[in-house]
């Protein structure tokens, strides 16, 4: 077995040193009924690289890769071009095969990149402070909700109808067991007024999204003020981080907590994970934040260095009093994010965002020119919603049969009467004029 260095004679010598006759003697605490006499049945035996690679390659071939066809899926995961150096750098042994930086003197590479990551995320979202990442956008949203309840000591949560349905479900799962009461508003493309009307004396937070799941952009500045005047917090969620190269960031709208998905910078689609949750807030709430935080300090010689800090919030210190049970975060995906962001810089990010917006505008024009297709999003960044004359899931399936991945039917996220015909379409800098033409042609044929 290529991964196991011990030889049979090593094992013999080592057993002798331990003072036992056989390996079985090291497992005597296992109850007799649970001891197996050989390898577990019904599983194959060890194989060499070639055989394993052949097996995995066959499985890979059985999926339609996004890059092989005209591709317009979004709804929380976006296909962007990631520079080759990003994947090379994150595979460096010293980043890939190290642990959470518990011994900072031998992990300055990791802690400094997390410090830079936090700085970049805070700048992108225009927030005071960001943490060192969460699992993904949906779990970041869930943690934001329970954090708001901790901060306000209130128990009601209002979800906007424009929130990504998966985020709403994930947040609900965590919130309801924390004893919170959920007020989920009806699905709507814009429900600012309804959100404010739902806020009462016991409301901990409202959760809104911009760009929302339908792609629509909403200015939450006034809503934030009104919500805060009632003693509640405004949580702003997003699923497409590239947007804030072009769109007013949630911090500037006065959001108290910002939680969203960072996958689209530096990370591939990966069939849904691993991704990287971004989490930011105001300075005054920093001690209520979940997750790891890197901070600056000095060493014994006074040289600048970085450490994980404010860990008294965390489970390994506080146990049942911790702000969250989170331990591992999304280190390597955060590294990919920070490297890609460093390559882009402010200038490159704005340029990239503009290309995304232009591709989406051209796609929207091409699609809404089709008879019977109605564009639902007045304003948008790189994703928009259309209403088709018939069932959107069937149209998507029919397009896929013609090798076009034409978007995500809203019903895939949530089965909601009245929304069966709604299709979410995303375009990015990877979208070509030929792709847009294929989408328009194919969609026309299948509806």
């Amino acid at each position: 077995m290529r991964y196991l260095p011990l030889t049979p004679s090593d094992r013999e010598q080592m057993l002798a040193k331990v003072g036992v006759a056989s390996i079985e003697d090291l497992f005597l605490d296992v109850p007799e009924v649970a001891r197996l006499d050989g390898p577990i049945h019904n599983l194959p035996f060890a194989q060499g690289e070639l055989a394993v690679e052949r097996h995995m390659q066959r499985l890979s071939n059985a999926s339609m890769a996004a890059g092989s066809v005209p591709f317009f899926c979004g709804a929380g995961a976006y296909r962007h071009a990631v520079p080759a150096s990003v994947d090379h750098l994150i595979q460096r042994s010293e980043f890939l095969t190290t642990y959470t930086p518990y011994q900072p003197e031998m992990a300055q590479g990791t802690v400094q990149t997390l410090f830079e990551f936090q700085s970049q995320v805070a700048g992108l979202l225009a927030c005071d402070v960001a943490n060192a990442s969460m699992y993904d956008g949906s779990t970041a949203c869930a943690e934001a909700v329970v954090m708001a309840a901790r901060v306000t000591k209130r128990t009601k949560v209002v979800f906007s109808g424009g929130l990504h349905p998966h985020y709403r479900r994930a947040a609900r799962t965590l919130a309801k067991h924390s004893g919170l009461e959920i007020a989920g508003l009806p699905i709507a493309i814009n429900d600012e007024a309804a959100v404010l009307a739902a806020v009462d004396q016991n409301t901990a937070c409202v959760v809104v999204q911009c760009p929302n799941v339908f792609g629509t952009l909403t200015d939450f500045t006034e809503l934030a003020k009104a919500v805060q005047a009632k003693g509640a917090l405004l949580i702003a969620v997003f699923t497409e981080a590239v947007a804030f190269g072009l769109v007013t960031p949630p911090g500037e709208m006065g959001a108290d907590i910002v939680a969203g998905e960072g996958q689209s910078i530096g990370n591939s689609l990966n069939f849904g994970g691993p991704y990287v949750g971004l989490f930011a807030t105001k300075d005054k709430y920093v001690r209520q934040m979940p997750g790891r935080l890197a901070g600056e300090t000095v060493d014994a010689d006074g040289t600048r260095g970085f450490v994980l800090t404010l860990s008294t919030r965390e489970q390994h210190i506080r146990r049942d009093k911790a702000t969250s049970n989170i331990c591992t975060n999304s280190g390597l995906c955060a590294l990919a994010f920070t490297i890609h962001m460093t390559l882009l810089g402010d200038k490159g990010l704005k340029h990239l965002a503009q290309l995304n917006h232009e591709a989406a505008c051209e796609t929207a024009d091409a699609v809404s020119a089709i008879d019977g297709v109605e564009l639902l999003s007045e304003s948008f960044f790189n994703e928009f919603a259309v209403r088709l004359p018939g069932d959107a899931a069937k149209a998507v399936e029919a397009m896929a049969a013609q090798d076009v991945l034409g978007g995500v039917p809203y019903s895939r996220l949530r089965q909601e009467p009245g929304f069966e015909n709604v299709l979410l379409i995303a375009a990015t800098e990877t979208t070509t004029a030929e792709d847009i033409a294929s989408l328009a042609d194919t969609l026309k044929k299948v509806i």
């Binding site: 394993v52 066959r58 150096s85 962001m341």
Partner: protein, 523 residues
């Protein structure tokens, strides 16, 4: 033409001058580093993009007018920045990383290569299921391995890390209790030796934590457990092998007691790597257990994630598994159940957007196929043998916390350091100078000054012997009064000992321009 050998060959001449301070700040191969904010600028970029067309914006008046403040670097500058930073990290690929409870085993590069195949890495989670049959097959095959290795009924793949898997298992327990009209059961028993995530998770699920004492042999105190049982008990969260590196030999009795009291048995599977292929948790009476793919099945730790925490469930809890999950249709194709209403069971909800950590599934499946049932068993045995060998070699010099054999990790207390003026922390920092990542320190909490050493099966005997020699040398130095070696350590790391107290007292959590930073410092 004559050879030009001016200046060659060099000769090594003895020289007792002290090492000079360099003008560059470098120390030979160790290059100085700065922050991107100090070297980059907001008008520089390392990505070439096609020109914009000037299409009329449809941002609805929400165009950003401010800078992100984020500097850019050209590609050569960026590559150099991150390579220099990487060289300030220790890693398994450099040397032994005996961090107890964390299972720092070799990360095979085949696994990385497979995870990047386009049929896994370049597929969208919401493509029509007809176009992602290969990706669903990975999930289906991984499920088969996990269920078979654990002897359980079902597996929920979507939890994103170990702690998230704990949450999954405990939420399934809560859903089952609610469905049985047992909603009043809110007390969860947790041994005092447990990982901090256990009590934190129980509280996140709305449970109350009740600690169970440890017996003098490092295992659960059965008599204390019995006194804590009652009709308000929801279950127990128990790690096995436990955090002291010991197998809970009364585990079947514990399971029976909990079940008889009407509760469920949650097993923290963080240490499954000690028994995988040799013992099936399903045979021990477990109802739910998360598996850290990033420990037992070697998906890389990546400096703190991403992890992956699939959670296996017993017959009793399987109906409550969260969505989504993969099913096989009558025609043999694979499908995803994504909406609670479409499930045949009673899912407790959804934990995440999409389907979990696909990139970790492919790596773990590659590990499993490479090792096979026989290799997984051998890996567990070697991990246990390596830990016992280290314990046997070090027991004369240090004090094992408990007598007898251990499982995959060896636990020492600090009684052997008494009177030396050296603490566990100092000892750990001196290990850095020796070129080793320190063992886990001060955990588990039930052992004073704990030092938890987990070598894993990836270390050769020669590597273990070198480690033992180094540890023995340090132990002797501590006992002989060479305290400066410890209290000043590390001496040879890229930075000296860092001031964590200062970092927490006055948190600086992001970069600020020097003018602003000075203002903050002056306040």
């Amino acid at each position: 033409m004559a050879m030009n050998n001016v200046g060659r060959p060099t000769a090594a001449v003895a020289n007792d001058a002290a090492a000079p301070t360099t003008f560059s700040g470098a120390r030979g191969l160790l290059q100085p580093t700065s922050l991107i904010f100090e070297t980059g600028s907001i008008d520089r970029t390392g990505v070439d993009l096609p020109p914009v067309k000037g299409v009329k914006s449809r941002l609805g008046g929400l165009a950003r007018t401010t800078t992100t403040g984020n500097p850019g670097l050209s590609e050569p500058e960026a590559v150099r920045h991150y390579v220099r930073l990487s060289q300030r990290n220790y890693a398994i690929d450099l040397g032994m990383f005996p961090l107890g409870s964390c299972t720092m085993k070799h990360n095979a590069r085949l696994n990385e290569k497979m995870a990047r195949l386009p049929g896994f890495a370049d597929v969208h989670p919401l493509q029509p299921v007809s176009t992602v049959q290969g990706a669903l097959s990975v999930m289906d095959q991984l499920s088969h391995w996990l269920i078979t290795l654990t002897g359980m009924k079902a597996v929920a793949l979507s939890p994103k890390a170990g702690a998230h898997g704990e949450l999954c298992g405990m939420l399934a327990i809560r859903a089952a209790l609610d469905a049985q009209g047992q909603a009043h059961r809110r007390r969860v028993l947790v041994p005092e030796s447990a990982h901090g995530t256990n009590p934190a998770t129980a509280v996140q699920c709305g449970f109350i934590v009740d600690e169970i004492k440890a017996a003098p042999d490092g295992r659960v105190d059965l008599s204390d457990l019995k006194t804590k049982l009652g009709d308000d008990v929801a279950g127990i969260m128990l790690t096995n092998p436990n955090t002291c590196g010991l197998f809970e030999r009364d585990i079947r009795e514990i399971a029976d007691l909990i079940h008889a009291a009407g509760g469920y048995f949650y097993c923290d599977g963080a240490n499954f790597n000690a028994i995988a292929g040799r013992v099936r948790p399903g045979d021990l009476g477990v109802d739910a257990m998360h598996i850290n793919l990033h420990k037992t099945f070697s998906t890389p730790h990546g400096g703190g994630g991403p992890g992956s925490g699939p959670t296996v469930l017993s017959d009793a809890l399987a109906p409550f598994a969260p969505v989504p999950y993969v099913v096989t249709r009558a025609d043999g194709t694979l499908d995803l159940v994504e909406h609670e209403g479409d499930s045949e069971g009673e899912p407790f909800g959804r934990m995440v957007a999409f389907h979990g950590q696909m990139g970790m599934y492919t790596r773990a499946l590659t590990y499993m196929l490479s090792h096979g049932a026989d290799g997984i068993k051998q890996a567990s045995e070697d991990a246990v043998l390596n830990a016992n060998y280290v314990q046997a070699c070090l027991k004369e010099h240090m004090s094992p916390a408990f007598d007898g054999v251990c499982m995959h990790e060896a636990l020492f207390d600090d009684s052997w350091l008494e009177g030396t003026g050296v603490t566990t922390l100092d000892f750990a920092k001196a290990m850095i100078d020796e070129g080793y990542h320190p063992m886990t320190m001060y955990f588990p909490l039930v052992v004073h000054g704990a030092m938890l050493i987990e070598p894993t099966e990836s270390e050769s005997k020669a590597s273990l012997d070198a480690f033992v020699a180094s540890m023995t040398g340090l132990a002797k130095a501590a006992k002989s009064g060479d305290t400066a070696r410890f209290t000043g350590a590390p001496f040879h790391a890229p930075v000296k000992r860092l001031d964590e107290t200062r970092a927490a007292r006055k948190p600086v959590l992001k970069w600020s321009p020097p003018v602003e930073a000075n203002k903050i410092a002056a306040e």
